[in-house]
C-alpha cells in the first residue's frame, strides 16, 4: 500500500454552537483520488478547508504528510505550499495578470528566480490550455478559463496534494467540461486529489473512492464502483437518485 498522506482521526469542528464536522475519520493515500459529495451544508467544504488549515478544527487530529496541524504548527505556509487548492469562485487575484497570478507564489514563497518562475507558469498554463491568455487580467477571461488559470496557479507551487472545492459549481454548463478535462488529465498524471463535487460522471471516471457526507458526518465511504452499484445508506440512495435523475 502507498504511504498515507492525509489522516484525519475523530475530527470535530464547531462554528460557535453549530457542530459542522462530527467525528470525521478519513485517510488518503498518495496518488489516491477521493470524491466527496453530499447535500449543501453537510460540511464537505469545511472538511477540505481543514486539510490546509484555512479552517481550524477543535478536536481530533489532522496529519498532513507527517505534520500534525494545530495552533503550534510551525511553517503552516510550507504545508499549504504542498497542498494546492482550487475554489468554487476561482479567487484569482484580479489586480494581477494571469501570468503574475501564477508566478507570485513561486517567486516569493518558493524563492525561484523570476525567469524560472515564468517558465514554470507558462508550462502549467500550456497544460491547462490557456497559455495565450497569460498577459490578460482575470476579468477578461471566461469562467472556465479563470478556473483553469486557478488550477495552473495552484500547480505552480508543485503541490503533492490538490484540493478542489466544488470547482465547477459556479460555471456555465458548456464550460464545465473544459475544467473537468484538465482535472482528469491531472488525475491521470498521478496527483493525490480530494474533490468536493457533484459531477458523478467525473467521479466514475477518475475516483478511487467516493465519500457521502450528511449533516457533518461521513455516512458512506466506498470504492467508486461499489458506491454507485450498492449504496447502503438511505440518504445516499436518495441523493444519488436525485442527482443521477
Amino acid at each position: 500500500m502507498n504511504e498515507k498522506v492525509i489522516e484525519l482521526v475523530a475530527v470535530n469542528k464547531w462554528y460557535d454552537k453549530f457542530h459542522v464536522l462530527k467525528d470525521i475519520n478519513l485517510s488518503v493515500f498518495a496518488g489516491e483520488k477521493v470524491i466527496i459529495c453530499g447535500p449543501s451544508g453537510s460540511g464537505k467544504s469545511t472538511l477540505i478547508r481543514c486539510v490546509n488549515r484555512l479552517e481550524e478544527h477543535q478536536e481530533g487530529s489532522i496529519v498532513v504528510r507527517g505534520v500534525t496541524l494545530g495552533h503550534d504548527t510551525k511553517n503552516i505556509e510550507k504545508i499549504r505550499g504542498d497542498v494546492g487548492m482550487v475554489f468554487q469562485q476561482f479567487n484569482l487575484f484580479p489586480h494581477l495578470t494571469i501570468l503574475d497570478n501564477c508566478t507570485l507564489a513561486p517567486t516569493w514563497v518558493r524563492k525561484l528566480p523570476k525567469k524560472d518562475a515564468e517558465q514554470l507558469a507558462m508550462e502549467y498554463l500550456k497544460k491547462v490550455k490557456i497559455e495565450d491568455q497569460a498577459k490578460k487580467f482575470p476579468g477578461q477571461l471566461s469562467g472556465g478559463q479563470q478556473q483553469r488559470a486557478a488550477i495552473a496557479r495552484a500547480l505552480c507551487m508543485e503541490p503533492k496534494i490538490m484540493l478542489f472545492d466544488e470547482p465547477t459549481s459556479a460555471l456555465d454548463p458548456e464550460m464545465i467540461k473544459e475544467v473537468l478535462d484538465v482535472m482528469i488529465d491531472l488525475a491521470k498524471g498521478g496527483m493525490t486529489m480530494i474533490v468536493v463535487s457533484h459531477e458523478m460522471a467525473f467521479a466514475k471516471e477518475v475516483a478511487d473512492r467516493v465519500i457521502f457526507m450528511d449533516e457533518g458526518r461521513i455516512v458512506e465511504e466506498k470504492e467508486t464502483k461499489e458506491f454507485f452499484a450498492n449504496p447502503e445508506n438511505e440518504r445516499t440512495k436518495l441523493f444519488l437518485s436525485q442527482i443521477l435523475g
Partner: protein, 349 residues
C-alpha cells in the same frame, strides 16, 4: 455650434418653468458676483509699484503680494539659501513627474525613494549640515512650510495608517486593542489640541535639557493625527475585500506579510483612493492651523504683513492669494487621484 448650444440649454437649463427659474436666478447671482470681482481683481487693480501709496485705482493692491512675495513663499528663510528649498521641491515634483513616464516596475522604486530617501535629502537640504549652513526651523515659514508639513504628514501618515488599519483587524488581541485605542483616541482629539500639546505641553513632560525641535514635534503630531483617519479609510477598503482573496493567498503558501503586501493592500488601497485623497486634501488645508502656535506659514505671514504699519488693511489681497494657492493645489491633488482611479479601474477590466 451655436445651434448645439441652444439645443443643449433648452434640454438642460430650461426644460420646465422651475428649472428656468433656477437658471435665471443663478445667472443673476453670477452677474452680481463676477463683474465686481473682475473689476476689483483685474481692471481696477494696481500691479506695479513699491508702496501701498502706489495703489490709487481703488481695486486690489497686488503690489502687496509682489513686495511680500518672498516672505509669503519662504517665511524668514535666509534669502541666499532659498535655492535649497527650491531644489527640494524641484526634486519632489520631478520625481512625481518622472513616474508618469517610466515603466510600471520602476514605479515601486520611485515610491520607495519618495517615502524613505527623499525626506532625508529634503531635510538636509532645507535644514543644512554636511557643509550647508544650518537654518534653524524657526526661520522656516511661508507656503514652503505649509508644503513641508503637508508632504511630511502625507508621507508618514500613509504607511502608519495602513499599519494601524491592519493592526485593527489583527487576530492578536493585544495588537488589535492597542490599535483600536490608538485610532479612537487620536480621532477623538481636535487637531488644535494636538498642536498645542506638541508645541507647549510636550516639552514640559520631557526631562529638562532634552530638546526636540518644535517643528518636528508639530509635524509628528499632525502625521499621527492624520494616520488615525487614514487607518479608518484603509480599513474600509480591507473590509470590502472578499474572503476568497485571503483564502487563495493562504492556499498558495503566502505568509501574513506577503499576503498583505501583494494581495490585500494593493486591492484595498485602490478602492479607497477617493477617501485617502479626501484625507490628504483635508490635511493640506489643516496645516495653516499651525499659525495659532506661532509658526509663520503662509496665512501667518499674511496676518503679520497686514499688521505692518506700511501695509495696514491688506488682508483681502493676502487671503485671496492664499485661497487661490490652496484651491489650485487641492485641485491638482484631486485630479491626480481621479487619474489614478481611472487607470486602476481600466486595469481590472
Amino acid at each position: 455650434m451655436i445651434i448645439n448650444f441652444i439645443q443643449w440649454s433648452k434640454k438642460s437649463l430650461f426644460s420646465n418653468w422651475w428649472n428656468s427659474l433656477i437658471t435665471l436666478f443663478c445667472i443673476y447671482l453670477l452677474f452680481l458676483i463676477i463683474p465686481p470681482f473682475i473689476n476689483w481683481a483685474i481692471l481696477d487693480a494696481t500691479f506695479s509699484g513699491k508702496l501701498k501709496t502706489d495703489c490709487t485705482a481703488g481695486g486690489a493692491c497686488w503690489v502687496f503680494i509682489r513686495v511680500w512675495f518672498e516672505k509669503l513663499m519662504y517665511g524668514f528663510y535666509p534669502v541666499e539659501n532659498i535655492w535649497r528649498i527650491n531644489l527640494s521641491f524641484i526634486i519632489f515634483i520631478g520625481t512625481i513627474g518622472l513616474s508618469f513616464f517610466v515603466r510600471e516596475k520602476y514605479k515601486l522604486y520611485i515610491l520607495f525613494f519618495l517615502i524613505f530617501i527623499f525626506p532625508f535629502i529634503a531635510f538636509i537640504l532645507i535644514r543644512g549640515g554636511f557643509g550647508l549652513t544650518i537654518v534653524e526651523t524657526r526661520e522656516w515659514g511661508g507656503l514652503a512650510l505649509t508644503f513641508i508639513l503637508a508632504i511630511f504628514g502625507i508621507i508618514l501618515s500613509f504607511p502608519l495608517g495602513v499599519l494601524l488599519a491592519m493592526g485593527r483587524r489583527s487576530e492578536m488581541p493585544i495588537i488589535k486593542y492597542f490599535c483600536i485605542c490608538f485610532i479612537e483616541t487620536w480621532r477623538g482629539i481636535p487637531l488644535i489640541t494636538v498642536l498645542f500639546a506638541a508645541a507647549v505641553m510636550f516639552p514640559l513632560l520631557l526631562p529638562s535639557g532634552t530638546l526636540v525641535d518644535k517643528l518636528l514635534r508639530v509635524a509628528i503630531g499632525i502625521a499621527i493625527f492624520e494616520s488615525a483617519y487614514v487607518a479608518e479609510v484603509v480599513r474600509g477598503g480591507l473590509q470590502s475585500l472578499p474572503r476568497g482573496q485571503y483564502d487563495a493567498a493562504k492556499s498558495i503558501g503566502m505568509g501574513y506579510w506577503q499576503m498583505n503586501f501583494f494581495i490585500v493592500l494593493p486591492q484595498a488601497i485602490k478602492t479607497v483612493i477617493p477617501g485617502i485623497t479626501n484625507t490628504f486634501i483635508a490635511l493640506l488645508k489643516d496645516t495653516p492651523l499651525i499659525y495659532l502656535i506661532g509658526m509663520a506659514e503662509i496665512l501667518g505671514i499674511v496676518n503679520m504683513a497686514k499688521a505692518n504699519p506700511y501695509w495696514l488693511g491688506m488682508a483681502v489681497e493676502g487671503y485671496v492669494f492664499a485661497a487661490i494657492i490652496f484651491g489650485v493645489v487641492s485641485f491638482i491633488l484631486s485630479s491626480y487621484s481621479q487619474k489614478l482611479e481611472k487607470k486602476f479601474s481600466t486595469e481590472n477590466k
